[in-house]
Every structure is written in C-alpha cells, then in structure tokens.
C-alpha cells in the first residue's frame, strides 16, 4: 500500500513538472519574438519600446535556462510574477479567487452525488421499468445540454421570469451568509445538474454490470437479505468505477466552470482567466492553468488512492 502510494505520488510529481514545463515552453514554441507575439493581437503593430519593456518585465531578456529555473522556483513558492495588465502579483489574485471556484465545484459535486448515485442505483437495479425509462430518457436530453446553455436558461427562468433568485453576482459568506447562499444556488445547481447526468449514467451502467457477476449470485444463494446483497455486493463494487469517473469530471469541471462562473458573474478564477486570455496577459493565464492542472493532478492522485482502498486488487 505504501509502496503503491509512493509510486503514484512520484508519478504525480513527475507529471506536475512536465505540465509546468509545457506551460512555460508553449510561448517559445511559436516562431518569432514572444513579446511581439503577445502585443500584436489584432494585427496591430507594436512599437519597439513597448516590446522592449514587455521583454524586460517578463524577464525575456535573460537566458532561457535562467527564465525556466526562475519560473519553476517561483511556481514552487506560489509566485508567478505580476500581471501584465494591472501589475498585481498573480499568486495573490489566484489565492483570492481559487477558493470561490472550489466552493462552487464542491457544492455542485455534493448535489450531483446525492442525486446521481441513488437514482443511478435504483435505475440500474430495475432496468426497463418506468423509473429507469423516464430518468434515462430525461438524462439523455440533459447530457446534451451544455452547462452554459443550462445556466443561461436558468437565469431567464428563475431570475427574470419567476424572479425567485438573483441572476448572478457574489458577496462573501462573512458579510451576508443568506445572500451568499442565494447567489450560490443557481450556479451550484447548474454544475450539479451536469454532474448528475454523468454520475447517474455511470452508476446505472456500473450497477447494471455488477449485478450480473457471479459473486452476486453467490450472495443470494447464501440467503442474504436483498438490501444487503445490493449494498455490499453490487453498490460497493460499483463505487470504484464511479469514483474514477467523478475524479475525471472534477478535473474537467475545473476547466468548464469557467463558463458557468462567467454566466453568473461568480468571481472565481474564470473571470480572471477570460479577461487574461482576451488581453493576452500571458503570466496570468500560465499561472491559472498551472494551478488548475496541479489541482487536477492532486485529485487524480487522491482518486487512485481511494480506488485502491475500494478495490484491494489494485494494490499490487
């Protein structure tokens, strides 16, 4: 077990380093001068001075290897330099905004899990019955609706037509807890709905598969109560695949909440990122992507650990 964790941990660190290197290198892969490239966004021609000053600001005048080592050392200290636009340290902005993104994802995950797993189990145990038919058909539609569409429609329906909830915005929990939760509701449901569709589908398929295994027959032949058979020999076994899928989705969500935060004006990483991309604020973009990928790698590592607890065969 320790050996397994060590192995996976090392692999995660290695991956982190590779991802960091790529994020660093992308700018230099493109032919031409990086500073000039960043300044000539819409075909505009940049003046010589502005290119020079950008070069100095980004440290592009130093040798490449120094830049690389500076970048790695900085990243390890959570120091990503300053934004090209507002000159605020990028690390600081991320530290402020990342927790909000995580809050949104966790809230969505919570909703997705408490609805998706029971519904998926129920449908998987009784395939073809009415519950399964209705939810599966609805889910096929749900899975085809991108998150930003759901979000837009929700705002129209709940904020503008019904006026139940605010259309978007953010206040900190400390200053107004109730409003904070109200503002969280729609974005969280949007994320949750997306997760529901994936968790439901996965759980259903997994339960459907598990229940055909020989050991389930053994459990029934032992005279176990049906509930126990389902809990211990079907759902328990289905958890492994579900955890893997949820972990993968978390990683993808880290990226796609960008859209949802954007729609609801939720000031997580995304607003920052979108502006940074539009203004080609490379240091900020690079930092956000690195941090998010690191989180993804961490989640993946945790998923692998959890899986090995759920399924002892993995710990080889």
């Amino acid at each position: 077990m320790i050996r397994f964790a060590l192995n996976k941990g090392l692999a995660a660190l290695l991956m982190l380093w590779i991802v960091g290197t790529i994020v660093f290198a992308v700018l230099f892969v493109v032919p031409g001068d990086p500073a000039e490239l960043l300044l000539t966004s819409d075909g505009a021609v940049a003046s010589q001075e502005s290119v020079e000053s950008l070069r100095r600001q980004m440290g592009l005048d130093k040798p490449l290897i120094t830049q690389y080592l500076d970048f790695l050392a900085g990243a390890a200290r959570f120091d990503f330099g300053q934004s090209l636009i507002d000159h605020v340290p990028v690390g600081k902005t991320i530290a402020l905004r990342l927790p909000r993104t995580i809050e949104l994802i966790l809230a969505g995950l919570f909703l997705g899990l408490i609805t998706g797993i029971p519904a998926g189990t129920w449908a998987g145990l009784r395939p073809g019955r009415s519950f399964d038919r209705v939810v599966s058909a609805a889910n096929a539609v749900l899975i085809s609706v991108p998150g930003f569409v759901t979000g837009t429609l929700f705002i129209y329906l709940f904020a503008q037509v019904l006026r139940w909830l605010p259309a978007g915005g953010y206040v900190s929990f400390a200053s107004d807890p109730l409003l904070h939760l109200k503002l969280l509701t729609l974005p969280a449901i949007t994320v949750g709905l997306h997760l529901f569709s994936i968790i439901f589908r996965m759980t259903r398929a997994s339960v459907l598969e598990m229940r055909t295994h020989d050991w389930v027959r053994t459990a029934v032949a032992k005279g176990l109560r049906r509930k126990l058979v389902v809990r211990r020999h079907v759902v328990r076994n289905a958890l492994g695949p579900i955890v893997t899928v949820v972990g993968l989705q978390m990683g993808i969500l880290l990226g796609s909440t960008v859209l949802i935060e954007f729609i609801y004006n939720w000031p997580g990483l995304s607003g920052y990122l979108v502006t940074a991309v539009q203004q080609r604020d490379y240091p900020s973009v690079r930092a956000v992507i690195l941090v998010v990928s690191a989180l993804f790698i961490l989640i993946n590592f945790m998923v692998e650990m959890l899986y090995s607890v759920l399924d002892p065969r993995i710990r080889l």
Binding site: R3, L6, N7, L10, A11, L316
Partner: protein, 325 residues
C-alpha cells in the same frame, strides 16, 4: 533414431514480473532449460497443469515468442539465425491450432477469406486451382464446401475448430503445434476432432506437438509424452509407458488424479498448492508436493535420467514404488 524435424535445446523464457514503475518485481521464469526433439511424422504430447509453461513452450518453438536462451532447430536450421523474411517463408512448414474456437477466427471474415489468406501468404494454389483446393481442404476437415461463404458465428464450436485445423493444414506444413486444441470442446465433439487429427496424421505424415492438460487425451493421440511442471521437464517417454507405468512421482500423481470409471490401484493424492512460478522451490520444483521428497531433493535440480531407450525421468530417487520398474 531418424533425424529430428524439430530439435530444441536449453530453451529458457521468463516474463516481466507484476507491478509497475520503479518497484517492478523481478522476472518470472516460465521455461527453465527445456530440451526436446520431434521426429518427422511423430506426435509428441505435452501435459502439465496451468502455469507449467505449456503454451509458452508451444509458441516459443514456433518463434511466435522469442526465447531468452536456447536454440530451436527446424529441419536442421536454427530459427534464430533466419532473417525476418526467411522466417516468414519458413512459417509455411510450421503451424498452430488454438484452444479457443471463438477467439481463433476473425468474426468479420468468411471461411473462404480465412483459408485464402493462408494460401495467398505463401502463393499456393493461385488462380483456377484455388477453388478446388478450398473444396479439398473443407473435405479434409469434414465440412461441407457450401460453408465456405459463411461467417464464423454461423458455426458451432467443433466446426470452428475444424476451420482452425483447415487453416493450419492449408499451407501443407510439416509440423503443427496444437495448443489445447480440444480442451474447450464437449466430449462428443472432442472425440470427433481427435479422430480428425489422428486421420490427418495417418494420411499426411505430419508431426504434432499436442498440448493438453488432459492426460488420457494426450495418451490416445501421442507417440511420446512429455510431462511439464513449473517450466521443467519431469518425465518423457512412450505414451503408454508414461501413462501406465509412470516413473516420476508427479506423473504418478497426475495419472492417479485422472477421473475414471474404475478405481485406480495405488492411489496417490497430492496435498498443497502449485507454487507460484514467481518463486519456485529450489532443487526439485516438485518437492513441496512430492510424497517422497527428502532433504537431498532441495539441494540440486535433478537431471533427466535415462530409464529406457526413449524414456527419461527427473527424480533423484530410484527407490520409489511407481510403475516403472
């Protein structure tokens, strides 16, 4: 003895151990110094329990898997010395029949394509003679030529196995490895396929390496039988002798475990597990389950001792009350 068609010396093969990354375990030895030879027209039977390395041996002598050490000579030529192209051509003479009748045929290819592909590979019976040859092949394995256009899923297990045999004999090989070729079949079908192989052998004088875990099937079809345990040869000799008068304690146990209608005299029952190939016992690999084991058995690996003209056994004791005396 006539010149051997296939001659194998000191064949050794190991697989990478389990585990990934920097903690990979050391390699697992599967074959550990196998010698054997097969004469033209001879059937050599190979028995052993799972994990003994039977399939690996079958594939290594065909050079479908590369051995770690040892040589395989086919018709006097060392297969390791051949170029890729030469090996491809040489494959015409050595073929294989597989265990699983469902995995051994491409579900998308009709039987005609399966057999034609074999002939195309070695440019045999091209043009007009092709159709006649296909019919002849179907005839030889007892299938109606009408079936040529059918897809594998339209056949039963026994029929698929016949198609597998037809594919192997299509190129007129001189040697075939039959790896558990009848193990997946029901008894009545198994008998059909065994008879078919026996007829083919009688008609064409082909040599066979017949691999099976079923001792009586091997005895029925083979001239000589070789017994494998954890990658080592335990005993080798004429089929009836090995079966009725086993010399090695392991063979004796195998024979006695074989279910039959009549109770067997001198019942030998083994206890304990087959050790993992990853850490086999020192000395005689069979010693952890051998009823006659003594301290000396752990000391060194017993050599194959000659007991008769073509009879060998790898046991250091000669005072064992088995059938060989």
């Amino acid at each position: 003895m006539s010149r051997a068609l296939l001659e194998v010396t000191g064949l050794t093969k190991s697989y990478p151990g389990s585990g990934r990354g920097i903690f990979r375990k050391s390699r697992v030895p599967v074959l550990r110094g196998i010698d054997l030879c097969i004469a033209p027209g001879e059937v050599l039977g190979l028995v052993g329990e799972s994990g003994s390395g039977k399939s690996t041996l079958g594939k290594t002598v065909l050079k479908l898997i590369d051995a770690d050490k040892g040589t395989v000579r086919f018709d006097g030529r060392d297969l390791a010395g051949l170029s890729k192209e030469e090996l491809r051509t040489a494959r015409k003479d050595m073929q294989i029949i597989f265990q699983d009748p469902y995995a051994s045929l491409d579900p998308r290819k009709p039987i005609r394509a399966v057999l034609s592909e074999a002939l195309d590979t070695h440019n045999l019976h091209t043009g007009e003679r092709r159709e006649a040859r296909l019919k002849e092949l179907m005839d030889m394995v007892g299938l109606s030529p009408e079936f040529l256009g059918r897809l594998p899923h339209e056949f039963s297990g026994g029929q698929r196995q016949r198609v597998g045999i037809a594919r192997a004999i299509a190129v007129e090989p001189r040697f075939i490895v039959a790896d558990e070729a009848v193990s997946a079949l029901d008894v009545s079908i198994q008998a059909q396929v065994l008879n078919l192989l026996a007829d083919l052998r009688a008609k064409t004088g082909i040599s066979l390496l017949f691999i099976s875990h079923d001792l009586s099937v091997v005895r029925f079809i083979s001239d000589r039988v070789m017994v494998l345990y954890l990658g080592r040869v335990m005993e080798i000799g004429p089929a009836d002798d090995v079966h009725f008068k086993p010399a090695h304690p392991y063979t004796a146990a195998l024979v006695s475990a074989e279910p039959g209608l009549k109770p067997k005299p001198g019942r030998v029952r083994l206890t304990g597990e087959i050790p993992s190939p990853a850490n086999p016992p020192s000395g005689c690999v069979f010693r952890t389950r051998c009823p006659y084991a003594m301290d000396a058995c752990a000391a060194e690996v017993p050599k194959l001792r000659r007991l008769g003209k073509t009879r060998f056994s790898a046991c250091i004791r000669d005072d064992i009350p088995t059938g060989a005396q």
